[in-house]
């Protein structure tokens, strides 16, 4: 059940714990709304990553980007999934077109206000 997700969460929580006792397993579990033993199992990668909702709460607790944590867990957020399912051709083309572009070329997708005929 190895995945980068658990190791990342553990490393991040331990870094924060160095600065504040608010990041002990017990306190983080209380904030997320799960048992402390579950935190340990996820961090040790003994269980599969949790649900999307739990990952989002985990991200909020550790001040992490939820999309990054979802990606580490091999998931895509529901809103992105919905957007792709709604217009699969457009987004499939867009993602394939941009997948190998360097980060500096992907800083922002800009939507221009379209000027028409007037």
């Amino acid at each position: 059940m190895r995945n980068a997700f658990g190791a990342y969460l553990r490393k991040r929580r331990e870094e924060l714990l160095g600065d504040s006792p608010e990041y002990s397993i017990r306190k983080v579990a209380a904030k997320i709304g799960v048992q402390p033993s579950y935190i340990s199992k996820v961090e040790r990668e003994e269980v599969a990553p949790p649900s999307e909702a739990t990952i989002i709460r985990w991200a909020e607790t550790l001040n992490e980007d939820p999309d990054v944590l979802l990606a580490l867990a091999g998931k895509v957020s529901a809103d992105l999934r919905d957007a792709i399912v709604k217009r699969p051709k457009v987004f499939a083309e867009l993602i394939r077109e941009l997948k190998d572009a360097p980060d500096h070329a992907l800083l922002r997708v800009v939507r221009e206000v379209r000027d028409g005929n007037w």
């Binding site: 800009v110 939507r111 221009e112 206000v113 379209r114 000027d115 028409g116 005929n117 007037w118």
Partner: protein, 349 residues
């Protein structure tokens, strides 16, 4: 390139200069009484929501899709003003200058002439930003405008119908030209270079200041004290090779929800409710710039109340005269993009 960001239109010209960015938005406000009095500037009550017309292709007239651009909701007889903000360049301690044409129904709010591309000086048909922080209406006299008031297109009230005799376009049309980069860098040297030039004997003044069913239009409402400034630069200082333009459609707030699924802003308070509550009105002058005279086609327009009277109609409910007792004079050096609202830094007369 024009983007929509947080209900503002952002015109950017990175190909001209990194600081060549102009933002503008539309502010909700009180409708001042349409009587014989001339009122101070009313407050800003928040931004109108702006949306791409392309996102509502099935709900807006086909002509709007052909025009492209954006749209926002106004109630009939509601007023509006435009807030301009160009990017502040820290290196030069100045905001990047723009020439901005503003038309309603393709009639210039500054010159009263029908839409022409380019900027024209005789008569001037554009405002200069950042010198002009706001525009509340049509330039009808030197130092006096008639407030922008939303009216249905086709009822005979709009500036477009009064000037052209037709009800074709409605909405607002905006065209922005940045200053040429070479002119900008010459007129506004970097601070370090400016200090050097001062030491060389150049005066600071010289170096800084050398010269549908849902369709609505805008109509001239009450009189307001506001100067529209003469361009102090040369016409050739504007970069006419680089421009961006946007058609801004106005939809009736009553149908905004059926088009977009969003609630429109609430109706603003009346002028008398606002004045009776002792809330502030505003005055702002810039004695470094000259005000334009009223434009003939605009001076000849009749106000909404006058036309209503002639038609036996009451187009402006709650049009009683008011006495704006609390008038705040804003400092000359406004913050970039400053909206008219009471602040600790405002001077009371």
């Amino acid at each position: 390139m024009i983007e929509l960001q947080n209900d503002s239109l952002v015109f950017s010209f990175p190909e001209v200069h990194p600081s060549a960015t102009l933002k503008l938005h539309f502010q909700r406000t009180l409708r001042i009484p349409d009587d014989d009095s001339t009122y101070p500037l009313p407050p800003g009550l928040g931004q109108f929501p702006l949306r791409h017309v392309d996102d509502f292709g099935g709900q807006v007239p086909a002509q709007w899709i052909e025009h492209g651009g954006v749209m926002f909701p106004m109630y009939q007889s509601e007023a509006m003003w435009i807030c301009f903000d160009s990017e502040y360049d820290d290196d030069r301690e100045v905001s990047y200058p723009f020439a901005v044409k503003i038309a309603t129904g393709k009639v210039s709010a500054v010159s009263g002439e029908t839409w022409k591309n380019g900027v024209n000086r005789d008569p001037q048909d554009y405002v200069v930003v950042p010198e002009q922080p706001w525009l509340d209406g049509y330039c009808v006299e030197k130092g006096v405008i008639r407030q922008f008031v939303a009216m249905p297109l086709g009822a005979g009230y709009t500036a477009e119908e009064q000037v052209t005799g037709k009800a074709e376009h409605g909405g607002l049309q905006i065209l922005a030209y940045p200053m040429k980069r070479s002119v900008y860098e010459e007129l506004f040297p970097k601070v370090s270079e400016r200090v050097y030039q001062r030491n060389m004997g150049l005066s600071e003044e010289l170096s800084c200041c050398a010269e549908v069913p849902a369709g609505m239009g805008l109509a001239p409402g009450g009189r307001m004290k506001q100067e529209i400034y003469e361009d102090s630069y040369r016409l050739s200082d504007w970069d006419l090779k680089n421009s961006s333009r946007c058609f801004v459609h106005i939809t009736n707030s009553m149908v905004w929800r059926s088009i977009t699924g969003e609630n429109p802003p609430t109706t603003p308070p009346t002028s008398s409710e606002y004045a009776n509550a002792g809330l502030p009105w505003f005055e702002w002058y810039d004695d470094k710039n000259n005000a334009l005279p009223g434009a003939d086609p605009l001076t000849g327009m009749k106000s909404v109340a006058t036309i209503g009277k002639e038609k036996g109609d009451v187009p402006l409910p709650e049009n009683a005269s008011v006495n704006p007792g609390n008038v705040v004079t804003l400092r000359k050096d406004l913050k970039p993009g400053q909206v008219r609202e009471w602040t600790e830094t405002a001077d009371r007369p």
